[in-house]
């Protein structure tokens, strides 16, 4: 099994997510994570989809099918070493009065994680990193009692010189000037 990351640039139209997932469903390819956001270019959305599969050929076919969708501008498929990627996780950890106190130093320095909210008897810690790093932190913190845990999909940028939107056909202005 290899992890692939697929970046899909699309027009920002209603229902497009549906059209994209149909291609995955028909080919019985499971989506591991999915993140959608608007890009630096106005009206252009970016889908980042990660998945695991044993056949590169199947993923190449998938990419070609995705490119066929009328509102899709471009699709790029990547292996892990071709991208810089990250995920974010939030951990709600209990800190009851008189209970075990959390060690902020270890959390900050060893795990690169940050407390982003202090409740009366809990804290919310944000941890960004690769899936593995997040799971390492999970293992560390779980002894304290995790009340809630949520993890985002993968986001990724290519290691090429140019930004991916540079490869898109010219449309509209820049959303973020």
């Amino acid at each position: 099994m290899t992890t692939y990351t697929i970046s899909i640039f699309t027009n920002n139209t209603i229902g497009l997510l549906n059209r994209i997932t149909i291609v995955f469903t028909r080919r019985r390819i499971n989506i591991e994570s999915l993140t959608v956001c608007e890009t630096e270019r106005q009206g252009v959305s970016r889908f980042t989809i990660s998945l695991r599969h044993e056949s590169r050929e199947a993923i190449e076919k998938l990419v070609r099918q995705l490119r066929k969708i009328v509102d899709v501008l471009a699709v790029f498929g990547y292996l892990d070493d071709e991208i810089v990627y990250n995920e974010t996780a939030l951990f709600k950890v209990q800190t009851p009065l008189g209970g075990q106190t959390i060690d902020i130093d270890v959390i900050n320095k060893d795990h690169n994680a940050w407390v982003v909210h202090w409740g009366i008897d809990y804290v919310v810690i944000e941890k960004s990193g690769t899936g593995d790093e997040i799971m390492q932190f999970y293992q560390y913190i779980k002894g304290y009692g995790i009340l809630e845990f949520v993890r985002s999909g993968r986001i990724a940028v290519g290691k090429t010189e140019k930004g991916l939107v540079e490869y898109l056909p010219e449309i509209g202005g820049w959303a973020i000037a």
């Binding site: 229902g15 549906n18 070609r64 009328v70 056909p169 010219e170 449309i171």
Partner: protein, 581 residues
Amino acid sequence: MAHQPQTAANLLEEVLQRPTVTGAEALMLSLLAEGVDTIFGYPGGAIMPTYDALFGYMDRLHHILVRHEQGAGHAAQGYARVTGRAGVALVTSGPGATNLVTPITDALLDSTPMVCIVGQVYSRLLGTDAFQEADVMGITMPITKWSYQLTSADEVPEAIAKAFYIAQTGRPGPVLLDFTRTAQMERMSKPFSYKKCESMISYRPRRVPKPEQVQVAADIINRAKRPFLLAGHGILIAKAEEELKAFAEKTGIPVATTLLGMSAIDADHPNYVGWLGMHGNYGPNVLTNECDVLIAVGMRFDDRVTGDLNTYAKQAKVIHIEIDPAEIDKNVKTAAPIVGDAKECLMALLPLVKKAQHPEWRAEFDKYAAIEDEKITQTTIHHTGHEIKMGEVVSMLSDKTKGEAITVSDVGQHQMIATRYYRFKRPNSIVTSGGAGTMGFAVPAAFGAQVGAPDRQVIAICGDGGFQMTVQELGTIAQSGLPVKIIILNNNFLGMVRQWQQLFFDNRYSFVQMQNPDFVMVAKGFGVNGHKVSSREELSASLDTMLNFDGPYLLEVVCEKEENVFPMVPAGASVSAIRLE
């Protein structure tokens, strides 16, 4: 009263007071701007404002009222297949729209341009389970090339322009517009104006091939000793018949067609060797596994063509010429792909390929053709047994019409027989459901084709089973007076399924026999003339009567009940394993 000179100020005032058109009327104007002449449709609540607008445009937009929305869809397909222009289907929301699901699926699989305009509830009611609301966008997303929901009148011109552009360019296909009652009824906020869509940033099909790809392919072709060309529907879509002919004649390469590619080359052309696939000809199937270069043009290596992929043309270098890049390497690994429009690609290849003849290689096709002719064709068309064989009928029809008719066949044994025994002389002469194999396709597609090609003889060839799936369209044919001819090759069986049960399920005939109606009486009930023939002596005269009849006509031919279609590549077997009996 003296005419008042018009000042700029009062002209502006007048223009501002002139009401703008409603969304429904904008649709009429947009369709006219696209050159649409005919709409196949069926009214209902959610599309009534559009039908009301249509009332005022009756003289310019011909509307054919079908008997079931499936008929509207297939008719639009038939129209599109013979004209190359998108067929238009207009239906209401909910059940009207869901009745279009089969034709849309069919059009997607067979790359047929079609614009479906579907009524929808008021915008404010969307998602509330309102009366006759169905999630048509959701239902049709997997089966449309593109779809769009219109919630305001202002969106109409641009959406229609995009719809026709997308349906008709690249690899053609069905598009759907979900037209809310709100968008139909409200007035545009600005005067109507229409601009045809000529390009889209997110959709840019390549027409002209990359020269490097063409060169690589030409080099392979020039070194080939046993090259073989497979011509698909893409030839007809691209109108590349002349280029195909020139290419075949220059290179001496034998040409076979797919089911839908049939009629792309004259059946009597010396390079034509027959058709491919499960019930295709002997030589083309067997020699697919003996050629050294396989040039596939505008086709997609459907499993009905390839049989078992693991044993398909493994010895050959495959050149795949195709407008849809997603088809490259999808089923068959390509040595040299050329992405582009079939016409442009063949035009680019032609000057780069060398003149050749390949007489020995072509003689091999002749050898197989002779065997097939002796074992199957001759014994069928000169059959002397008591019962009439389907092949006799089609062969006689082909002679009588000189291969000039448009045949619209349904799905089953008769379809394969119609393809085998009709010798097509003109392009765009076969209209049939290939990818989806939709029973009930023929009758509505036939009158759609007749509308699109009013000067040609259109003949539907149906089975007794499939005919009954859209029999109600006889009413449409009668009402419109379209001179469509319908032949029912009646074997009193769901013959194709019966054949499989006989050959692969141990003769266990499970629900394949029907009690059929008196087809001629049914036709007459609808106001369509016809008669039934059961003896060979009367067959020729019966066909003449049908062909010479001024108006629609139904001919039922009672055929041998348990005739099997051969040759046949058993499902999942290699094309080399084709059986003659």
